[in-house]
């Protein structure tokens, strides 16, 4: 019997000939990523009693969660982090460079066949490029700094095959929301999820990143899209380092193989307070909204901003609605500025922020008051996620966000054409 992607990567990175699902292996990752939580990781690392990170070249730190610092406390965290990365010689991107997952991909740090562990739950994003990437906790990142290795359980694997051409204004975001709704918030718990089929093969890297990013919301340990010409063309501009793609065997043993036809899919919306509470947009159309957030590691790329601008088509943001736009990185920000998109958003009445996580995690830059309703392109709508536990948060695609911004209520973007 053949091996899945997860089994092959984890065997290689643990220095074993082969591994079985359920086996616990000690693996050596190619990259460890952390962000603003690095300040807390430094404190844990000091408690171990070590002075030096063992292999500083294998780590990257990106400040993105609360940037620029929103309080003295956050500022102190950032200051401590800057001192630490300088002292240890760790690769570092300061406030303003962008959201960690976008930056890792833009900088060519996520490559096919790599094992990447990140102190962030959306680390599975790099599976879009054929890497095995999973989220870990703070103590575990401190342990990685100390030893360069970590125990991992070999997961069983799901293969999700998608076919059908997506209808106009229906996006990868709608597909992944639909799948999360079908499988449930724990539908892929602990599993490695391989996305395949003509629909996925036809997607660019940004759309594949949306799929892999939100696989975390069905409980997946990691996600995977087989590297192909699209992947290699993207990486050609991003990295000069050699890499070795790893592919699942054709006869790999999957726990389950699922097939979905997404050719007739309607735009999807996740309703509060759970990401798997997904409905076709027609079921919630008309719901009045106070705030729209366009951005984050899920949907803050140039393709997302272009799509939103196309749907808004010069219409102003509706009275009483606050529209917040956060490009996911400096690169996206500059490209959007060059294409005139940022000016279009501001002229329509939107607020354009610096690259960062912004209001997604409820720390600053667009917190919701009790009773307020928001539609965001982000990946979580839990109670209290964007501020007040009494606020309501809906999730949708950039096209949906744009339609909501100009109408003030949940609206199918196709109805504006």
């Amino acid at each position: 019997m053949g091996k899945t992607f997860a089994e092959k990567v984890l065997a290689k990175k643990a220095g074993l000939a082969e591994v079985e699902p359920g086996q616990i292996v000690t693996a050596r990752p190619d990259l460890g990523m952390s962000h603003d939580n690095t300040a807390a990781i430094v404190q844990l690392f000091r408690k171990v009693g070590l002075k030096r990170v063992k292999e500083p070249g294998k780590f990257v730190v990106i400040l993105d969660h609360v940037v620029p610092a929103a309080s003295v406390e956050y500022a102190q965290n950032h200051k401590d982090i800057r001192e630490f990365v300088r002292e240890q010689g760790i690769r570092f991107y300061d406030v303003g460079r962008g959201v960690c997952h976008q930056v890792v991909v833009e900088e060519g740090l996520a490559r096919p066949g790599d094992l990447i562990l990140g102190a962030d739950s959306h680390t599975p994003t790099y599976g879009a490029l054929g890497a095995f990437s999973a989220g870990i906790g703070r103590s575990e990142m401190a342990a990685l700094w100390a030893t360069g290795e970590l125990w991992l359980k070999v997961p069983t694997s799901f293969r999700i095959e998608l076919e059908g051409e997506l209808p106009e204004l229906v996006t990868a975001k709608d597909v992944i929301l639909y799948l999360i709704g079908k499988l449930g918030a724990d539908g892929a718990l602990y599993r490695s999820v391989e996305f395949a089929g003509p629909t996925v093969e036809g997607m660019g890297i940004p759309d594949r990143m949306v799929m892999a990013n939100m696989a975390a919301e069905m409980g997946a340990k990691n996600a995977f899209v087989a590297p192909d010409e699209t992947t290699f063309a993207y990486l050609a501009d991003r990295t000069k380092d050699a890499f070795t793609p790893i592919y699942p065997d054709p006869d790999a043993a999957y726990e389950e193989v699922m097939r979905f036809d997404v050719g007739d899919l309607e735009p999807q919306v996740a309703c509060p307070p759970d990401v798997d509470h997904v409905v076709p947009i027609s079921q919630v159309a008309g719901k009045k909204v106070d705030q729209v957030v366009l951005g984050t590691c899920t949907n803050g790329r140039i393709e997302d901003l272009r799509l939103a601008a196309e749907v808004m088509a010069g219409r102003p943001v509706a009275d009483g609605v606050r529209m917040i736009v956060l490009p996911a990185s400096q690169e996206v920000w500059l490209q959007a500025a060059e294409e005139g998109l940022l000016a279009e958003f501001v002229a329509a009445g939107a607020l354009v922020l610096n690259p960062g996580c912004g209001p997604c995690l409820g720390a600053h830059q667009g917190i919701l008051a009790p009773g307020e309703v928001c539609l965001a392109t982000s990946n979580r709508n839990f109670k209290g996620r964007m501020g007040s536990p009494e606020a309501e948060l809906y999730l949708g695609s950039p096209a949906v966000a744009a339609a909501v911004a100009v109408t003030g209520k949940i609206t199918d973007p196709r109805s504006l054409q």
């Binding site: 616990i24 603003d36 939580n37 300040a39 807390a40 844990l44 408690k47 171990v48 009693g49 070590l50 969660h65 609360v66 406390e73 956050y74 102190q76 965290n77 102190a119 962030d120 739950s121 680390t123 989220g135 870990i136 906790g137 703070r138 103590s139 575990e140 401190a142 342990a143 100390a146 030893t147 125990w151 918030a185 724990d186 718990l189 602990y190 409980g219 340990k221 759970d274 798997d276 995690l361 409820g362 720390a363 979580r380 839990f382 109670k383 209290g384 996620r385 501020g387 536990p389």
Partner: protein, 164 residues
């Protein structure tokens, strides 16, 4: 032997309601974190929880953010164990690494109600409730060693000292 009262919750209890994002990047010692434990789910919890109490929950406990404080705050609040039908994978790792016992015992979750007395004997691998015993498989050796040390950081510290 862990003994305490049960605090029962449902499925998909996420890390945003266990430890809200607004505190995630604040500098806090575990004792301070404990004051915010389950703040957005059950404001009574942090005020009334007693050492040894057991959280009992449904599927996918701890889903969402990777924030370790979701586990640390419960350990610091004196929670003896979290017993759930299943755990989100990062929370499970964070629990072990924080020295917090996390057990999957679905059949016990079905019968335990809030306020019930619960006992857990880790060595024998049983949970005791209402005169009945519910068995759970022994934890992997690597996990037991980390729990015994009180978490990953103390475990690592002891290991490095031993190796040096």
């Amino acid at each position: 032997m862990i003994q305490g009262r049960a605090w029962k919750y449902g499925d998909n209890v996420n890390t945003d309601v266990i430890f809200p994002g607004r505190y995630t990047y604040a500098r806090m010692e575990p004792g301070e974190m404990a004051k915010h434990a389950l703040e957005d789910l059950d404001p009574r919890f942090a005020r009334e929880v007693k050492p040894g109490d057991v959280i009992v929950a449904g599927r996918n406990f701890g889903c969402g953010s990777s924030r370790e404080q979701a586990a640390t705050c419960l350990a610091a609040a004196g929670v003896g164990a979290v017993v759930a039908k299943s755990f989100a994978r990062i929370f499970f790792r964070n629990a072990i690494n924080s020295g917090l016992l996390a057990l999957e015992i679905p059949e016990a979750v079905d019968v335990i109600q809030s306020g019930d007395k619960v006992g857990i004997d880790v060595e024998r691998g049983v949970l005791v409730h209402g005169g009945k015993e519910y068995r759970f498989p022994p934890l992997p050796a690597a996990v037991q060693e980390i729990l015994a040390a009180g978490g990953l950081i103390p475990y690592l510290k002891a290991k490095l000292v031993k190796e040096a």
